[in-house]
Amino acid sequence: MLPDIPRERQLGILRKMLMIRRAEEHCIRFNEEHTGLLRGHFHVYIGQEATGVSVCDWLNPDDYVFTTHRNHGHVIAKGGDPKKVLAEIIGRATGYCQGRAGTFHVAAPGVGIIHTSAIVGGCLALAGGTAYAAQVKGEKAITVVFFGDGAMEEGVFYETVNIAKLWNLPLIFWMENNYRRAGGRGAGNAALELTNIPKALDVETTVIDGIDVGTVHKTAKSIVERVRGGQGPLFVEARTHLWPGNAFNMPKLIGGVTDIAWAWDAGKAPEKVRDWHKDHDPILNYVRELESAGMSRAELAKIDAEVSKEADAAAQFALNSPLPAAEDAVKYAFAGEGN
């Protein structure tokens, strides 16, 4: 369903989701079409755009967001500049962290993402910390920590939920279940319903379809309002479906870039990705709903063209940006006199 908000705002959400998709397609192309741009591995958010974008649509600039190894989408969703995200991914001086962080650790303190960890569960307790700080300072800011199903296997998840509940922290545990642990094998959690774990600590939980913008947006509105209103930590599980290009060590554009026309002509999509785009792609799902609500295909395609153009320019910006100076490597270990 479409979120119950004015059309302009609905389209703002579409633009953001498309921007994440297009920017990450560039990220994959950096790896596929160039040598040496990305030396290591990386992760993309493709297929999970609806959750990050819909949640961040309810957040203020000074609210805190924490993310994971799959951070590119969250940073853009919270208001990050795709140019600086793509530049960071390829280690450029113009990136959010001057190229020091790279794809795994993109952080954008200016938009409320003050630190990013690629360690599974690495930001859960830190999110408790920003929520606690806001509470102590009497600020209205809340914290949303995005994490994957795999992070619930780490002990720090339990410890943080417990502390957050005991201290009534303004913290949203937003778990994105993609039914996958990158590189993982075997059983992950003994709890068949992951919500049973926070429930055991008397934290209220909600399970939603993470592909449907309307559902996520509506849920996020009420969760954000309640946590901002002092009703303590809440837990949401948003269920998504793994994008087929993510089924490898490194993401691959196995069906090429997403064509928005596949929304109304699924048969045109390459077979390897056809079913996923037909049934599980949050963006094409949303596009179909907007069309049903009266938008023309031409209008929707025009929005995509505009976003794609901006994403192309962001990729060019990243590629044209200078690398940071080698000698500056030794900077920044300390903020103060430690050096």
Binding site: G91, H105, A118, I119, R185, A325, A326, V330
Partner: protein
């Protein structure tokens, strides 16, 4: 017939040979292989399926379980994968495994083998480029093994699995995993605490472990062209440590460069330098020099990552300056 194989394949071979005869060997998340060893890894996983667990992403939990199982008589091998993930488990490794023998007055021991893929791998970013060898060497009660070649990796892994009575941190550098080398035929062991001279020379000693050995050998080649004859010696294990061999080499050359891919501050090179200063001072004709990582979290950007990596050029430069 000696066979050519990768570092990863050599490890897998050692594990297979020992596990075949010793049912106490159990494995958590065996991965070891690198790219080239995939077939061998798949075969190992199949052969020992009943003795293999793929635990949840719960490092402190599964490392602790392995330690307890070792105390109860099993001989677990835990592949932690990226070395930095061991930081999640450090409370169990350092606070429990390492102290058990001493703390029990010699009654309890925890012969578990932790395998850590460490080092600056290229584009890993700071959290996938960790080199904690000096932390673990700084922990009494842990054996620290850091081979540089497939042959050494196999011989040392066999020794650890067959004979070790203590917890061992076994380091494999990410960039070595697919390196090939000749591996002797059949079953053989390399004792812990036995250094190996990888290149004999008379002008300057370069002490190097793991990935730094091929870098030191490359530096020695550069120096040779300039008429400087470098000796490259590989302690292979830090704990136990072959002090006599290191001191003998320094005595011969009178100059020493120590290189390791851990940070300068209290790093492996610093620890080795202290020993040479204490026990080999009289042999020295020049100050002891270290080539390691400057004290900064490893940056991601290509030129900066290269800048902090102790590559052959930097080793040669420092050694050259000593010989002037």
């Amino acid at each position: 017939m000696p066979q050519e194989m990768t570092f990863g394949e050599a490890l897998l071979e050692a594990i297979d040979e020992v596990a075949e005869k010793d049912p106490r060997i159990v494995m958590f998340n065996p991965s070891f292989a690198g790219e080239a060893g995939h077939a061998k890894l798949a075969a190992l996983r199949k052969k020992y399926a009943a003795r293999i667990k793929y635990p949840p992403i719960a490092e402190i939990g599964f490392c602790g379980v392995a330690i307890g199982a070792a105390m109860a008589g099993l001989r677990p091998i835990v592949d932690i994968s990226t070395a930095t993930f061991s930081y999640e488990a450090i409370a169990q490794i350092v606070n429990e495994a390492a102290i058990a023998h001493s703390n029990s007055g010699g009654l309890t021991s925890a012969p578990v083998t932790f395998y850590l893929k460490f080092g600056i791998r290229g584009g890993g970013g700071v959290q996938h480029s960790g080199s904690p060898q000096s932390w673990y060497w700084n922990t009494p009660g842990l054996q620290v093994v850091m081979p540089s070649t497939p042959a050494d990796a196999k011989g040392l892994m066999r020794t650890v699995l067959l004979k070790s009575k203590d917890p061992t941190i076994f380091f494999g550098h990410d960039r070595l995993l697919d390196d090939k080398g000749m591996v002797p035929d059949g079953a053989y062991e390399i004792p812990l605490g036995k250094a190996d001279v990888k290149r004999a020379g008379k002008d300057v000693t370069i002490i190097a472990l793991s990935i730094q050995v091929p870098r030191a050998l490359a530096a020695a080649e550069i120096l040779a062209k300039e008429g400087i004859d470098a000796e490259v010696i590989d302690p292979r294990t830090l704990q136990p440590l072959d002090k006599p061999a290191l001191l003998a080499s320094v005595k011969k050359t009178g100059r020493v460069v120590i290189t390791d891919e851990s940070p300068d501050n209290c790093g492996v090179a610093a620890g080795l330098a202290a020993i040479i200063a204490d026990e080999g001072f009289a042999s020295l004709r020049a100050p002891i020099k270290r080539v390691s990582i400057p004290p900064v979290p490893v940056p991601y950007a290509v030129p900066q990552e290269d800048y902090v990596t102790p590559l052959a050029g930097r080793i040669a430069e420092v050694a050259r300056a000593l010989c002037r």
